[in-house]
Each structure stands twice: as structure tokens, then as C-alpha cells.
Symmetry: C2
Subunit: 377 residues, 2 copies
Amino acid sequence: MKRRYLLTPGPSPVPSVIREAISQEIMHHRTDEFIQILQEVNEGLKYIFCTKNPVIIFASSGTGAMEASVSNFFSPNDKVVIIVGGKFGERWLEIAKSFGLQPLVMQIEPGFAPSTNELKKILQDNPDTKGVFTTLTETSTATVFDIKSIAALTKDKNILLLVDAISGLIQDQLLTDEWGVDVVVSASQKGFMLPPGLSFICINKKAESFLKNSKLPKYYFDLDKALKAYQKNDTPFTPAVSLIMGLKKSIELIKNEGLENLWEKYKKMSLATQAAAKALGLEVFSKNPSSSVTAIVSPSGLNAKDIVKKLRKEYGISIAAGQGELEQRIFRIAHMGWINEQDLIMCFSLLEKVLKSLGYKFNLGASLVALQKSFYE
Amino acid sequence: MKRRYLLTPGPSPVPSVIREAISQEIMHHRTDEFIQILQEVNEGLKYIFCTKNPVIIFASSGTGAMEASVSNFFSPNDKVVIIVGGKFGERWLEIAKSFGLQPLVMQIEPGFAPSTNELKKILQDNPDTKGVFTTLTETSTATVFDIKSIAALTKDKNILLLVDAISGLIQDQLLTDEWGVDVVVSASQKGFMLPPGLSFICINKKAESFLKNSKLPKYYFDLDKALKAYQKNDTPFTPAVSLIMGLKKSIELIKNEGLENLWEKYKKMSLATQAAAKALGLEVFSKNPSSSVTAIVSPSGLNAKDIVKKLRKEYGISIAAGQGELEQRIFRIAHMGWINEQDLIMCFSLLEKVLKSLGYKFNLGASLVALQKSFYE
């Protein structure tokens, strides 16, 4: 009878109405009925990505759409700047290397957001730069980057700005068209409240103009082919029909709440989580915390992995430890998608229990009081 | 209240027990519980692929695993033979071209299986051939290829045999290890009775030895990375958790029936479908019909697309028209996965109704009598 709670930064919990939508009888994808669903979903994605441009859906996890961002717009030896502030910046770098680009790494101290001035200088020193790869929310450090300021540097130049918004979208504001972001990538298992298996890529006109010059091989993630099918509300290959039926419901839920309200809601949950951590005498890891997930530094002498393991094994609560070098130092609590205020109350109640059992000293209930005050005062 | 019936060669119907498995509460993929599921699924896939070697799962449609078969084992300008007997042979060719291989096309007349002698000669004339790409079941013509004889030509040479078994697996026999097939690709939405969104690729030791020499770029479909994760029952990127929970159930169903029994069952359904077509005075298109799907030539003067459209619009039955040049000439009825004898009875009952309404002359009920005799005599 142990109940399970999911507060990980993906997969995030899937509401039962979406699970029901996904488990409907399967339909063929070349029918008027499914074309109608794709049409609705395509319109809905424009709303969520804050764009008038196409958002292509792939049957893949988010990394697939990241690969598409490299293989469709660039050619071997193209110089690109990659902002690396953690594991997902590193993923951009790995993909760029795999495809033979010439990446210039702008390394950010973990937990910090990139300095726009530093990027400005890099772009001045490297006028042959063809693209800048960055992250809206670096999940591994729970840090949100200032995409608006970054976009201001690339907007009027012949440089593409490509943003991994896999974890951040829907929680952390991203005004794609208004800010002038050229390519935005996301995936289904975070803010969209869906199981993993769909990725998204939004492409503006400037990005489209780069397609024809790319000399890298691609097939499954070929955006030219995908855009042609998109015009007819079709897909080049069999789409993940059941997940797209779920996506239709997900978009409905998000539209009903309204993006502005959601940005506000998750921001508040993030601030509450930070306050709860501080009330326990714990440090928030990020200097620029995201609205999607909060990273908390483990008390000195305690291994973050032990805290995470104990929460999962003994109480069925899944939160995330750090990744890579931060594995033992931080633990991360997500507030994205379907996760709500009551999940945080429940999570901190058991986090207190675990910290106490590991010998850490604090006032029992302090984090809950802090959450209550943040939410309801 | 119109009921819908799906007899298309993918997506094929998904049984409710699988739809329930898919709609379970989502779980995190880095938990003991999910690792346990992956372990079970990995073992089960070996059974279904008739192999002792790893079967890698990608979150993608089948074309993703086809791309992986090109990008992981070969390098630009590698000479490969591609057996093209329809749309899915053409897909191998398109992918090989996209990745800069040097493909030699062995063109097969639609509806025919490849001649092993002709292939033998091609391989003799081209001793620098590095791979042979072919199809178990060419869905577009409903033709099964003799993979055993083809494998006999490549087995003891330094040539990889790569088989697209997306539509055929589970219905058409494929003894991967026994015949010496090096790479087998499949996907979730056919014999596996799952929604689309998972692809599979089975790799033997000979194929593994080709990995290190490949100079093509890859990342999402990188098999070296996938195999390393596989050893730990892990995946390099977020797996399609819910579809994999469904796959566990699918494997259970298939194991309970037994592969030998299933091959027998679908073979019988194929023969029954052929008999039913003939009883209506119609021609079976393929000279070597598959156990997965049957292609029937539309009566002269009738457009196959009209038959398919009428069945779908008026009676909710989805079968498939031809593809490409065969679009108006043939229609295709699938007998794969969850589709059973009663579905065929129901389908032919309405097919007769539609043919009659279009003015085609035959004895009403003739196809049903033929089915009954095939099934129960």
C-alpha cells in the first residue's frame, strides 16, 4: 500500500485525464480524424511556444530534437558557440562534436547563468560564428538562463540562436517570437505532463533559410521533409499516435489555465521551495533559480544520494540527486507540469523526516511553515 | 454509434490489456522498478527476435532504427546492395543515399521476392560490397522475402545482412541467429500490438565488429552508446516509459501464445484471405504472399482507393490502399498482431457490400464461405 509520488524533473506525473486519452483505442494516422487532431495540436503548440511559426513533432525523446537542431542547420567545421552550464549544455556540445562542428565552449560555473557581456565579446571576437546553442533551464543545476538578453545579441545577425527548453518550457517564460529565438526544442515528459516519447522543435523563418545550406546527413530528423508534411497536417513517418492523442488533452489543460498564470504559479512554487530549504538551514544551489526545479545543497556531511534513496525506498517519493560532479552534493525537487503546492508540502514533510533520521538538526515543521507562508500569505 | 475496425498494416489494433498497461501511473526510469521492467523486456525481445544477442529499444518510429542501421555500420562511399521490391526497400535506398553510401540497387518487380541467384551474382561481381539491405515483409506489395536463402550468401562473408522486419516480425518467421542475420529492425505498431513510438534493432557480434569502423555522424541513434547502457539495463536517453510498460504486457501475450503457434496462425489467416479474394474472382497481387498482410488487385474498372475510402467512411473499417504507383490498383488487408479470424469475416462481409454497391458481380457470401472453409475445415 505504499503510495508513490513523483517530483523528479522528468518524467513528471501524468494526470489521469491524459492517461485516459492515451489509452483510447488506437486510430490510423492517415485518417481525417487523426489529421484533425494533428491540426488542433499544431495550433496549440504555437500557443505554448509563443510563436506563429511551425512546431514539428518527432517520435523521440528530447535529445532527438536536439540532434535535429545540429544536423539540419549546420555543416562540418561550422563554428558555433555552446554555452555549457551543466549536463544539458554538455549534451549540445557532445552532439555538435559528433556531427563535426567546430564548437567554441563558453563554460559557465555550475549554478550561474551566462554573462551576456562575455557572450557579446565571444561573438565580436568570432564574427564567423554561425550559431549559439544554449539552454532555457539547465536542469542539472536548476538554473534559468536569460534568453531574452542572449537573443538580443543574435537577433539581427546571421547567427542562429538554438534553445533547449526541454525542462523549462511552460514553467519558465520563453517568448520565442518576441525575443527573436530562432530554434526552440522541447519534449513531452516535463511541463506537458505527458509520458516521454515526443519531442518538439520550433523553427522561425531565419532558421528555415539555414536548412538548404546544411551539408550534414539526416533522414529521420530531416526538417525539410518534416516541414513539407507539416503543411498538410501530416508527418513523414508514422507518428506516435497515442501520445499525440494525450498531447491534445495536455494542450487543452494548459490553455485552460493560461500560460501567464502558469508562469506565475510555478514561479511562486519555486520561491516557496527556496524559502522552505532556507527555513531548514539549507542552501539553494542556483544563483538564478528556475521556476521548473529547485536544487538544494545537501547539509555538510550528508550525501545527497542517500537522501534521495531514502525518500524513494522508504516513502515512495522520487526526487532527483545531482548529476555528474554534483551527484552527491545537491538534490533536486521539481515543480513542473502536474506537480502542485500540496505535492511540495508532502515532499518537505518527508524530507524533514529523512533529514532528521540522518542526524541533521533543524526545527521540525519549519519548512512546512515556510511553504504555507509563501503560498497563502 | 458507428464502430471502428482497424485492419491496416500498422498501426494495428491495441488490445485493452495493453492500453491499460500503457495508462498506468508513470514511473521514473532510473528506479529499480523500471530497471526490472527493462530487464524483463530485454529478455523477452530476445525470444521474439529468435536471438541471443541484444535488442536495443529506441524511442522513435521504425524508420529511426532503419537510420541507425545505416549510420552505425557504414561510412561514406561504402558499397552496399539494396534490394528494392517496393516502398520500404526504397526507404533503405533513400536513407543510404542521405548518408552518402554507394548503393547498388537490386530492383525487384513489385509483388515478387528477390532471386537469390541474382543476388549471388551481384555479390560475386562486387566483392567490395559491405552490406545487403533487405526486407522481411515488403508491406507495400504484401510480399515476404526468403531471408534464409539471402543470409546463406552473406553469413560467412564480411558482409552485413540488414533486414527490415518492421511489418513482418511475429507473423512471418525470422530465425535471426539460426539463419545468420546480422541486423534486424522492427517497431511497436505491427505484430507487437502496441501504439507506434518504439523501434527495435537486434545486432549480432559480426555487426558489433562493424561499429568501430563507421565514420558517419550519429548521436541519438548511436548504437555503441546504446549497447553500453543496455549492459546495465539502462538507456542513454529518457526511454518512452509508458510504451515500454505496454511492451512488457505485449511480450507476455506473445510468449503465452508461443511464436511457433503464431507463425502458424497468421499463415492460416493469410491463406484464408487469399482464398476469400479468389472466391470473389479477385487476384492476389503478390507471387510470394506474406503472413502479415494480403494485397488484392482491385477489379478492373474499380479504383482501389474508392473501395478503401467507402469502407472507412461508411462502415468504419480501415484497410489500406496501395502505395505509390500501386495506389489505385491494390488494396491491402492486414492479419497481424491482435487482428483475428473474426475480424477477417467482418471485413469481407463489408467488402462484399462495398464491391456490390460499386457494381462488381460475384456470389454474395462467397468470400465468407471460403474463409469458413479455410479456418474450420
